[in-house]
Symmetry: C2
Subunit: 343 residues, 2 copies
């Protein structure tokens, strides 16, 4: 069973909505009404040792930061500001005090950085593997929430930064080589210590220019497929527009990999993916000058279904158009190549 | 390191409060302000396979119900009504579809029963062991929240039902014997399918008669120690007042165990533990006639520190008074006897 079938099976069993529930299972966060004007965003993400992280190369402080970042990224995905967090910490009975001190410092430091407060949770014995679950609660104005389902044919598809860096970094770790090359260390750092794009997300939500948004956690191919399915549209991505291709060249040479695979199927980018009217592109680019972020148009929304990658838009021919729908990371399917996580 | 030291270490690292935070780490739930009159209660509990449950005897439907009950019990512990839930479901890659169908049906059925709605979560691959984390959000009036820290010397200590049943039931399962005796099956059922005391909790919170409350999840000895420590008081418990001692007799004979051990150190009772002015005992007992619950006075709050068990209050002598502070279940300490969970 694939992950999305599993989620669908659970979703079908849940009861009908509550008056306060604006969005249940199926977006980056659940959305519930707080007051007449404000909503709460709720998200929960789990990292399991040797599936999502490997302590032999992941320093505890950076792992603590990452647990926060991957959850906060889901709040950013809808345009919200994180406020509170709860942690379930599963550790072996004979856990290492020093590891815990580093992890806790990273976690609470990242909470402070993103403006959210750790207010509770659970501690349990988890033999064999550490198991880390965070719930993050965010807040924002009700009218500004950016859902996955708002994309329209003709929209431009934007991403907020280079893709595939974390996937390439992970493959470098898994190769067992620790090359002393700054370009490669930057990729490894993208895997170890990702950053959630909260400031940009809030700006985009407030702008009123964005039709649909989500974060990139399972790779562009899978995440854009979700956005398209929920908006009842398709998408075409131009490979040559994917930003900062050059950052992957050294790693691609080193590992003899196709960098495009990392960019479309590699997970853990934690960049924002959003769509907007092409007539608003200039306004968006002007808005972005207010902050330290960048945004890149990488394709467009079309009528129909599925996500198509166009590798060489200059030449016509079916060989250059590839259906990449859902070709990213699936938690319950072993995926070959760059997109699989630590086995 | 003991569990409470671990929690204290994390608590010290968290930042200072937010204006909306009424209670952070240290009670059954975190409490945040929703409106001027209402609060949200937030709790999170994890069950790890072979630590908290064993699939060889735990039917998936009852396990799904239990994940909900143990979390909802934390909402009840403060007098609240559960409203929403998020589930993190960690399963092996080759998980059993039938097991999942049973588990999901139990979980969503229990959510409906308690009046809360599953609105989101995460699904991850967890090799070797299933890992189940639930976050539950509850609501109640701000002025009615029952914290652990309100107990006063002279208060009567009450519990809402028989203790030690689930611990005895677990020991029966662990003994490998499945006796066909209804009295013993009732104990096993207490372990498999506990019930959160939401209706009673709401009634108690609304009554204004209760000074401090929590739920019994780690055993009376440990949970009452938490309540006493946070209220800066001590407690004396009369063994002969612990209710329904008789329900444990058959199991105690069968397993050659002291039933008192199950009653004071056995976890997973999910009954309510609360304190109130002895002058209000009649009012409390009258209130309870409005619902299907029962409550039992089992001891009293005293000045000082620690929890003392008095096994035979008729005779004086130090042998009959036993300090039982924190002698319940600790998630990171191997506890001998009845209180340890599945190893």
């Amino acid at each position: 069973m694939k992950e999305r079938d599993l989620i669908e099976q659970i979703r079908r069993l849940t009861g009908s909505g509550s008056a306060d529930l604006l969005q249940g299972i199926g977006d980056d966060c659940a959305v519930i009404e707080k007051t007449a004007e404000t909503v709460q965003l709720l998200t929960m993400d789990t990292l399991i040792e040797s599936i999502h992280f490997d302590c032999s190369w992941h320093p505890p402080k950076k792992l603590g930061r990452k647990v926060v970042a991957v959850n906060v990224s889901d709040i950013a995905a809808m345009g919200g500001q994180p406020v509170f967090a709860l942690l379930s910490l599963g550790l072996p009975a004979d856990f290492d005090d020093q590891w815990l001190a580093g992890f806790s410092a990273g976690l609470t430091g990242a909470c402070r950085e993103y403006g959210c407060l750790l207010i509770g949770g659970d501690t349990v014995c988890s033999p064999d593997r550490r198991a880390l679950t965070l719930t993050v609660i965010g807040e924002m104005k009700k009218e500004q929430v950016l859902y996955r389902h708002g994309a329209r044919p003709g929209d431009t598809v934007w991403v907020s930064g280079p893709l595939g860096l974390a996937a390439a970094g992970l493959d470098l770790f898994r190769s067992g080589e620790m090359p002393d090359i700054p370009e490669l260390q930057l990729l490894q750092e993208a895997h170890l210590d990702p950053h959630a794009r909260v400031g940009l997300a809030v700006l985009l939500a407030q702008s009123g220019l964005v039709h649909a948004m989500m974060d990139l956690s399972d790779g562009l191919a899978t995440d854009l497929s979700h956005l398209c399915e929920q908006s009842n549209v398709g998408a075409r991505i131009m490979a040559e527009r994917l930003p900062d291709y050059g950052k992957l060249t050294a790693a691609a040479d080193f590992l003899q990999q196709d960098p495009i695979e990392w960019m479309i199927s590699g997970g853990e980018d934690y960049e924002l993916l959003f769509t907007a009217d092409p007539a608003d592109s200039k306004k968006l680019l002007k808005l972005i000058t207010l902050c330290d972020y960048a945004i890149y148009p990488v394709g467009s929304i079309v009528e129909g279904k599925g996500v198509t990658l166009i590798r060489d838009p200059g030449e016509k021919g079916s060989d250059h158009e590839q259906n990449i729908s859902y070709q990213g990371y699936d938690h319950f399917t072993v995926v070959g190549g760059a997109s699989s996580r630590t086995p």
